[in-house]
């Protein structure tokens, strides 16, 4: 059907009005101004449409250009041709030698980043001192000399060589004296180089000068037995050890070696066989060794000689002329009992004295001879060559200088302008010398006075060898190309001596080919390569002969008594004793921030030396710790803050040398005050004692101590027993008298799963001597920032491991210790002090209080029993640190790596090369703490995986454990019942610090046992 309906849109259409018809003609009812836009105003508008793309293009281009600011380009250079031995990410180890001790140097991508002990080293069997650990940082010291210097300005080596050779030739021609002054050298090659040099310049003479010398012992052995040697001591063979001021676990001769020996008679293994040595220490200041002694008696320097004479009398049953009783009754008593014990332990006894006085050492020799020590605890036939300095020779050299008899003075590894006690006399005398030459790698005090400075390599850049003890030869090989334009001193000497062999490497090779290699049964290139791998040749030791002392002692006793009498201080005067601090030693490494920030093991002071005075004297004088006093002795004065030292003999002051450098570098300069000028020269040796007086300056200089509360308040964090009790019941005082308690019995929580590994640690408080090497090892391994003196004062040091040191006191006639502050305050006698050291680090608690409180899960538990930190997640609320009962968490208060206000000497790209690339550095605002060297655990697991075998016990070592000469730290897997650590933790002596909180700490401590004898009556 058709539809004819019509629809219309509006009435207009229906009506067909004229307007409608008109409008309907066009497509659009309203006219659209297309034409207008295309031709007229549209294009001539301000921003015409067609210009849109132009504007857009220009705009984007301009913005892009503006954004193209030059960013600094850091070129990373890949190994285009990869050295065969270097795999990025895999460390290489090279054997070398640090001061005669065999070491392994860890290098990553061609740069040495850590020094570790060589497990076959005869001294510490893999242990290493804090100084050795820190030595790697010196390599990256940007203040080392970058070029040789001639008359104060940088010069090339050829100019220096030309100048020196010309001068030496002229001096030789004139027949004038040449003196080569060095510290002790035991390197066969270096000694040969010096011999060659002297051959070329016959007027030359080699003088050995040690700032801290053992001339007294060497001379005494010459006098007593006709052998001018430093004996090799065997503390491991001694059941009774008596030391008069010898800090043999610390700074005396060979601390690491003696620590290993000493601890072997006191550690868990020894205790389990019911054996423990007895150690009695008589000393003025509190030394590291004194803190470990079973009985310790403070004596004044003036009493030391008398005490040794008394001991001789008691042992020999004779009376030396002029002998007198000690004024101090308890010491006098002790000497009598000690004598009996020594005699009872004949053949297994050892008496040592720290004095550098020949007469004293002769008397000690006599005592040791009576005790049958020669051939057992003292070995004169395999002598130590670690120190050979001759004090008298050096003093004579200074006199020669003064008389103008020396035309050339060459200084190798010595710095007499700083450490000679008459520094001014030396400087004045030196000015008369025509050619003054220093091999120092720093522009140090002596280099400043020299007209030629021929900077030596750092030992990690050097070739060489060492023979620190008879029959033990080690090799030094470089682990990096020389960083600066330095040259090895031996090389320089060879050049100046116009030796046919100028290259020192070839020279060393020749030395070894001519005899040394053969001693180890090696030969040729292959033998040399074997040597480079093993690092050492250890020839069989000579049989230690037994020596009998047979000289007359009357004169000796007389000398000692006169000397002692001259040390007696009058009213208001004090007896001053100068010693070496554990961290800084003789001051050669004063520019090392790791060492400056290492707390002194006894005082816990960093970045300073101080005047240690007994607590009783401090109270008497109404001084406060940190008050600066002016100490005057031998016509020399220093201003030093005072420290109240428990155990310091009353009426004495102890001051450490090694501080107060003026040209050590930015770290070491003006840290503390120089105490060397308190030395004196007497009877052919340097003496370390003097009579001093002091006045209060009224100035205060608070000490930067990492621990300011020194008593453990009777808390069970420290558990001690004496050996008699221990023998009856090994669990005594450990809290395990009824077996190990299970605090976790009623726990509400499920334990963490630890399917394969459960990493834990055992620390033997009886083995730990508190030396602090672990602290520096941890610094190096874990990139721990140095914060500086002010920040330590604010109690913000960053060390992941610290050693807590607590004092406790005994009252006369009472056996129990006084450990609480308010009781200690009431004491008047602070002489009977006992000390305990406790390494404290993250306990990796299984119920970690830090983990539950972190709002962002930045610290969590691993499936291997570790408490881990995710730095990137940390927002820095510090709640974890507050909730840590052990206070081992460390917060990055500032951006220590990159904050110009805290120049901790790592704020430059070069020094940062020392960083361990396996450990990330931490930004400010995040928390950090001991990770249980998780990078080492991972590396160990990975290695085992590649070898398709399970990880072996002992394969992974913590940095702290590895460097510990005392083997106080054992680390391992608790899931393996046969692991070393599992066995150690099962010991009756094992307890956990704050175990009653049931935080389930992962580090077990073993009770400190003292072999206390009833010496005091």
């Amino acid at each position: 059907m058709d539809n004819n309906k019509k629809y219309w849109k509006g009435l207009e259409e229906l009506d067909r009005t004229p307007e409608f018809v008109e409008k309907n003609k066009n497509e659009f009812a309203e006219p659209i101004p297309i034409e207008e836009i295309l031709s007229g105003d549209g294009l001539s508008a301000k921003t015409p449409r067609r210009d849109f793309l132009k504007a857009l293009g220009f705009g984007v281009g301009a913005v892009t250009l503006a954004a193209c600011q030059r960013v600094p380009v850091h070129k990373s250079i890949p190994y285009l041709i990869k050295p065969e031995e270097v795999t990025p990410g895999v460390a290489n180890y090279y054997s070398s030698t640090y001061e005669g001790q065999a070491i392994l140097v860890k290098t990553r991508e061609g740069r040495p980043i850590k020094v570790e002990g060589n497990p076959n080293d005869v001294f510490a069997k893999g242990g290493l001192s804090a100084q050795a650990q820190a030595s790697v940082l010196d390599l990256y010291d940007v203040t080392r000399l970058k070029d040789p210097k001639l008359n104060g300005s940088d010069a090339g080596w050829s100019e220096v060589d030309a100048f020196v050779i010309k001068e030496l030739a002229a001096i030789k021609a004139a027949g004038k004296n040449i003196r080569l002054v060095t510290s002790t050298i035991h390197s066969p090659s270096t000694l040969a180089v010096i011999a060659d040099f002297i051959k070329q310049y016959p007027t030359a003479k080699h003088i050995t000068y040690d700032a801290v010398s053992y001339t007294g012992i060497i001379q005494a052995n010459q006098n007593s037995f006709g052998k001018a040697v430093l004996p090799h001591y065997n503390f491991d063979k001694a059941d009774v050890i008596v030391s008069f001021g010898a800090d043999f676990l610390g700074t005396w001769i060979s601390g690491e070696e003696f620590t290993r020996q000493y601890v072997s008679n006191r550690n868990n293994k020894s205790l389990e066989s019911k054996k423990m040595s007895r150690h009695i220490q008589f000393e003025s200041g509190m030394s590291l060794t004194g803190t470990n002694a079973d009985n310790r008696f403070p004596i004044k320097p003036s009493e030391e000689g008398i005490a040794i004479i008394s001991l001789y009398n008691a042992i020999s049953g004779t009376t030396l002329p002029g002998s007198k009783k000690l004024a101090n009754k308890s010491v006098d008593n002790a000497i009598t009992i000690v004598a009996k014990e020594l005699v009872a332990a004949k053949g297994k006894a050892l008496v040592v004295a720290g004095s550098n006085d020949v007469a004293t050492q002769v008397l000690v020799n006599a005592i040791n001879s009576l005790l049958g020590s020669y051939g057992t605890t003292i070995d004169l036939d395999n002598p130590s060559k670690q120190y050979a300095g001759n004090d008298a020779e050096f003093v004579e050299f200074v006199h020669e200088l003064g008389r103008g008899e020396v035309a050339a003075a060459l200084f190798l590894n010595v710095n007499p302008a700083y450490d000679y006690f008459k520094g001014k006399e030396f400087k004045d005398a030196l000015s008369k010398v025509r050619l003054k030459l220093s091999f120092s790698d720093h522009d140090d005090e002596t280099a400043q006075l020299s007209n030629v400075v021929a900077p030596n390599h750092h030992y990690l850049e050097s070739w060489g060898d060492a023979n620190a003890v008879e029959g033990y030869y080690t090799v030094i090989q470089p682990t990096i190309n020389p960083v600066y334009n330095t040259r090895q001193a031996e090389h320089s000497l060879l050049v100046w001596a116009e030796n046919p062999v100028k290259d020192y490497y070839t020279y060393v090779r020749n030395t070894w080919n001519n005899g040394l290699l053969a001693k180890g049964g090696l030969s040729g290139q292959k033998g040399w390569e074997t040597l480079l791998q093993t690092g050492m040749i250890n020839t069989p030791a000579n049989t230690a002969g037994s020596y009998t002392f047979s000289r007359d002692l009357n004169a000796v006793a007389q000398t000692i008594l006169t000397h002692s009498a001259s040390l007696v201080a009058g009213d208001g005067k004090y007896e001053l004793q100068v010693y070496q601090s554990q961290a800084i030693g003789d001051g050669k490494r004063a520019n090392n921030p790791w060492l400056q920030e290492l707390p002194d093991p006894v005082s816990k002071v960093t970045w300073d030396n101080f005047a240690a005075i007994s607590v009783a004297d401090i109270k008497k004088l109404k001084l406060q710790e940190g008050d600066v006093i002016r100490v005057e002795a031998n016509g020399y004065t220093v201003d030093l803050p005072v420290l109240a030292q428990p155990g310091q003999a009353q009426g004495t002051i102890s001051i450490a040398v090694g501080y107060g450098r003026t040209n050590a570098g930015p770290v070491g300069d003006n840290v503390g005050k120089n105490a060397y000028p308190f030395y004196s020269f007497r009877n052919g040796t340097f003496q370390t004692t003097a009579i001093a007086s002091f006045t209060d300056t009224g100035i205060k200089s608070p000490l930067a101590q990492t621990q300011t509360h020194h008593s453990y308040e009777g808390r069970s964090v420290i558990r001690e027993a004496n050996f008699t009790e221990y023998k009856k019941n090994p669990a005594t005082h450990s809290g395990n008298e009824g077996g190990h308690k299970d605090y976790n019995k009623e726990s509400l929580w499920d334990d963490h799963d630890r399917p394969v590994y459960d990493w834990v640690m055992a620390i033997d408080l009886n083995a730990c001597t508190g030396c602090g090497a672990c602290v520096v090892a941890c610094n190096a391994e874990n990139n721990i920032p140095v914060v500086g003196k002010d920040e330590v004062r604010r109690r913000r040091e960053m060390h992941w491991i610290r050693i807590d040191r607590y004092y406790s006191y005994q009252e006369e006639g009472k056996s129990e210790s006084i450990t609480e502050e308010y009781e200690i305050d009431k004491l008047s006698n602070f002489d009977r002090v006992t000390v305990v050291h406790q390494p404290m680090l993250c306990q990796h608690c299984d119920h970690a209080p830090c983990e539950t409180v972190c709002p962002v899960l930045a610290t969590v538990h691993s499936s291997e029993g570790l408490n881990q930190m995710a730095y990137n997640r940390c927002v820095g609320t510090r709640y974890c640190a507050n909730n840590c009962p052990y206070k081992v968490r460390r917060f990055n208060w500032f951006n220590y790596w990159n904050d110009s206000r805290f120049d901790n000497y790592l704020n430059n790209e070069h020094t940062q090369l020392v960083l361990n690339p396996d450990v990330v550095t931490r930004f400010r605002g995040v928390m950090e703490k001991c990770s249980m060297c998780v990078q080492r655990i991972q590396a160990g697991k990975l290695k085992a995986k590649i070898d398709k075998r399970p990880l072996k016990d002992g394969e992974v070592k913590m940095a702290c454990q590895q460097t510990c000469s005392a083997n106080a730290i054992v680390f391992g897997n608790r899931n393996d019942p046969n692991s070393e650590v599992s066995k150690a933790l099962k010991s009756e002596r094992t307890y956990y610090v704050l175990e009653e909180l049931n935080v389930q700490p992962g580090i077990g401590y073993q009770v400190k046992v003292r072999n206390v004898s009833e010496l005091e009556a």
Binding site: R715, N882, F891
Partner: protein, 490 residues
């Protein structure tokens, strides 16, 4: 309304003669509708300088690191968290007054709830700044929120009291803000109705189109009641959770179960003290004596006395439990408060909070304005020291004596704290210029039933027990805003 009169024994909540609804509006809006006076300008200048100090100190901290403060390895919190808890505590009075007292039909709250709530908001803002500022990496603060992320199931640690804190504080802040602003709506409308031009437009937006119809009022009342119900648990929960920051830890001196009630009481204590401090000044300067009367002042003093005594009992309990527990470390911590190096802080805490407030048992003290004002400040000094003692004195000597240390504040610590007070007062002073500092609508509710003039009318009408009237008149003696001559005549 007039038919529902209040008992004559109750003290009047509004004083003054011939008060009308119009006059209430005029009186309360006087500071909002006029240029500020000299006193305000002086106050504002000082407060702004304080705020500036805050900006400088916080910027310094952000630029260099938390090390700018005096904290150390042993004392990881000190002035920061002390300030945080102090401000949160102060921020408690507002909600208590507006919510709990509303539910309990305590009509006297009507005159003070507005300022108290505003104070709450500002105090919580001050507290919140510390949450950000005390972080080592505040730019990573978002990690403390349970946000979806690319790390799979990486959540916040719901075990951590700090996370509870984040939720508690943010909830409290948002609810308080909504409650406060809801109450403001009719008053904003009043301002709008009296204003012209731009001002009118601003207040028009701010009043959310309030019409004043019966329906609006009805909904307003309902919302207020619901919000009051919601806020009431918050009064208890916020400081309970803040106290758990301490109570759930292992630190001796922190690890105690008494903390939640102890902290809540302390918070109300300090909050009321702060309200008192502010209102005594505001009342005088803004001439609001007729609306904030001696009755209000005395009531608040009574609450301060009660909560102060609760806190005192908590202190004693703490000491008893430390003794009774036999816990070696806990015992030492409490002994250390008195014999340790921070003994003076403990003396400030116990002295200011307990000993001084006990003076309020005396009516003379409660009704003496200068003494009340000084006491209210002493209370907040004491409460600051309470937190300082709990935080610093506990931390500085905990388990291992080797780590015992002292805390010394730096200028930045002081700057941040003093600055936060500046921020607080800046905000408060701005508030009284732009918003009515007393709830106009709610005060008007009282005019016909609980005002002095209504009571006078009642007396005039007779039908009252003369003894009751005498009692009423006796009570009026303490009022400083009443013309007493009138009553002597009567």
């Amino acid at each position: 309304m007039a038919s529902h009169s209040e008992s004559i024994i109750r003290e009047p909540l509004i004083t003054g003669k011939n008060i009308t609804y119009g006059q209430i509006t005029d009186d309360i809006l006087r500071p909002v509708e006029n240029m500020p006076g000299k006193a305000w300008w002086i106050g504002f200048s000082v407060a702004s300088l304080g705020a500036l100090l805050w900006v400088v100190s916080i910027s310094y901290t952000f630029w260099f690191g938390i090390g700018s403060w005096g904290l150390n390895k042993t004392v990881g919190w000190a002035w920061d968290i002390t300030g945080f808890v102090w401000w949160v505590g102060i921020g408690h009075a507002g909600t208590l007054i507006s919510a709990v007292l509303l539910l309990f039909r305590q009509n006297w709250r009507n005159s003070i709830n507005r300022s108290a709530e505003a104070m709450t908001i500002f105090a919580v803002i001050c507290a919140a700044t510390y949450i950000g500022a005390h972080m080592g990496r505040p730019w990573m603060a978002l990690y403390s929120l349970p946000l979806p992320n690319q790390y799979g199931s990486l959540w916040v640690n719901f075990n951590s009291p700090l996370i509870w804190d984040v939720f508690a504080i943010s909830t409290y802040f948002s609810v308080s803000l909504v409650f406060w602003y809801t109450g403001l709506l009719p008053d904003m409308a009043s301002i709008r109705d009296r204003a012209t031009g731009l001002r009118r437009r601003i207040y028009s937006v701010a009043s959310f189109g309030w019409t004043g119809s019966v329906k609006t009022w009805q909904r307003f009342e309902t919302v207020s009641l619901i919000l009051a119900g919601l806020s009431t648990p918050l009064v208890l929960s916020v400081h309970t959770i803040v106290s758990m920051d301490f109570a759930t830890s292992l630190e001796p001196g922190w690890h105690t179960t008494i903390f939640p009630p102890y902290f809540v009481a302390g918070a109300i204590f300090s909050g009321f003290a702060m309200v008192q401090t502010l209102l005594l000044v505001t009342r005088k300067v803004l001439g609001l004596e007729n609306y904030i009367t001696m009755f209000h002042i005395e009531s608040m003093n009574k609450i301060i006395l009660v909560t102060g005594s609760v806190v005192g009992v908590a202190y004693i309990t703490e000491f008893f439990i430390a003794y009774y527990s036999g816990g070696e470390y806990e015992q030492y911590t409490f002994l250390n408060r008195f014999i340790g190096p921070y003994w003076w802080a403990a003396c400030m805490m116990y002295g200011c909070n307990v000993l001084m407030t006990q003076m309020m048992w005396s009516k003379k003290v409660r009704t003496n304005i200068p003494i009340s004002w000084v006491l209210s400040i002493i209370v907040n000094i004491g409460m600051w020291f309470e937190r300082f003692v709990i935080i610093v004195t506990s931390l500085h000597r905990d388990y291992l004596p080797s780590s015992w240390a002292m805390f010394y504040p730096t200028w930045v610590d002081v700057g941040v704290f003093v600055g936060s007070i500046g921020i607080f007062f800046t905000m408060f002073l701005l508030f009284i210029r732009v918003m009515p500092s007393v709830a106009i609508a709610e005060v008007k509710l009282l005019l016909k039933s609980a005002s002095e003039q209504a009571k006078k009318k009642q007396i005039a009408e007779g039908h009252l027990e003369p003894a009751h009237v005498e009692f009423y008149k006796d009570n009026l003696i303490k009022f400083d805003s009443i013309d007493h001559s009138e009553y002597e005549k009567a």
